[in-house]
Symmetry: C2
Subunit: 223 residues, 2 copies
């Protein structure tokens, strides 16, 4: 393994192209042209196109999970072993949103790549994604420590909804912006994070109290 130059060039070019044009219409020939390497280099260094995609995704995915856990640990350390529920959720959705939203997103290839992953979802990536569950369990455990009186089901739904809001915001930034005529400032990343976390916390605390009351009644109260 003398020179990783070719390997790195392929990875960089592939990520850039996938980020810009999506998985659908980027061919190996596009990638090797962008990387200025030979067509056969991809199969030589990665085995197949899918393995190249997988390596790209795994790398970025591990980065994301690492960052999430780092923030989670920081929150738990600050709280002496039990973190604030809002901080837990922030550790969950913060890295994703910070990476994929904001004005500087235009300049980060890695971020644009992860957005594509969220939007398109090719089989090669979907297979890997299912391993994400172990990672999420760590957050469930932390949430259980923070809210020991909550039922497990509520925690699962709370985490699910938190991720839903974060990922949909990444996925459908354009629609939200258009719908609101730009009134929803998606570039204010920390603002978006705070908003998602706030609602997710509410969802968690609401689950217990009102899990049996019909939503209709709740809405009446809210008026």
């Amino acid at each position: 393994m003398a020179s990783d130059q070719t390997r790195s060039a392929i990875l960089a070019a592939a990520e850039r192209l996938y980020a810009d044009r999506g998985f659908g219409d980027v061919t190996l020939r596009d990638i090797v042209a962008e990387a200025n390497v030979n067509l056969a280099a991809v199969n030589y260094h990665f085995g197949s196109k899918d393995e190249l995609i997988a390596e790209l995704f795994v790398t970025r995915s591990l980065q994301l999970n690492r960052e999430r856990l780092r923030e989670l640990r920081a929150a738990e350390d600050a709280g002496g072993g039990v973190a604030d529920i809002a901080d837990i959720l922030r550790a969950l959705v913060g890295p994703t949103l910070r990476g994929c939203l904001g004005p500087d997103t235009q300049h980060s290839t890695a971020a644009r790549f992860m957005i594509r992953v969220n939007i398109e979802s090719v089989p090669a990536i979907r297979r890997i994604r299912n391993r994400e569950i172990d990672h999420l369990r760590k957050f469930i455990a932390a949430m259980k420590r923070a809210l020991p009186d909550s039922g497990d089901v509520e925690l699962y739904w709370g985490l699910h909804f938190a991720l839903a809001m974060a990922q949909q915001t990444v996925r459908d930034t354009e629609r939200l912006t258009k719908l609101s005529d730009g009134q929803c400032d998606v570039d204010d990343v920390e603002g978006v994070i705070a908003r998602v976390v706030r609602v997710a916390v509410l969802a968690l605390s609401a689950g217990d109290a009102a899990s049996k009351a019909p939503a209709r009644a709740m809405a009446r109260e809210a008026r």
Copy 2:
């Protein structure tokens, strides 16, 4: 236009195959084999593969939007022109969840097709989806009537989050089920709808009061 048999057979076969195996690996040859028609029939009747997909999506999409608006009108009529906010949100997410969730989903081709649309998102469909905005504006208008004191921005975010929770639940049913070891009963469709609506309503009411308070403080209160 003597016989629409061929046309209909193609549409039905295509929807079935796309529902079962996704857009990625269903070819025209698969479709015509399933429909027992000639390969050239697709291009003759639809012009191209993309136009076939588009027609499938538009049909189901219009059905969905019609059902949403029907429920919205029903809610507004019942309230004398101004519907309950929970009912508005239920009209928004109910049809999607009822169509795509639940035990009977296994039997509805249309439902499974729309799930695929939510999961995969091919370019041909993404282009059409952007026209959905006008449809959503009607819900924003209804929400504004229901919550006249709410800021527009809060309404946009509320609708965005409601759709996020509904669509992610459709998209990631499997992950949620695995993560919770089956504890989250996604087959209880009306339960899921109530849950999504409840959180969305909360998100709307929370926006006003706490839009300036940091989420950290809110979480503390929630303890």
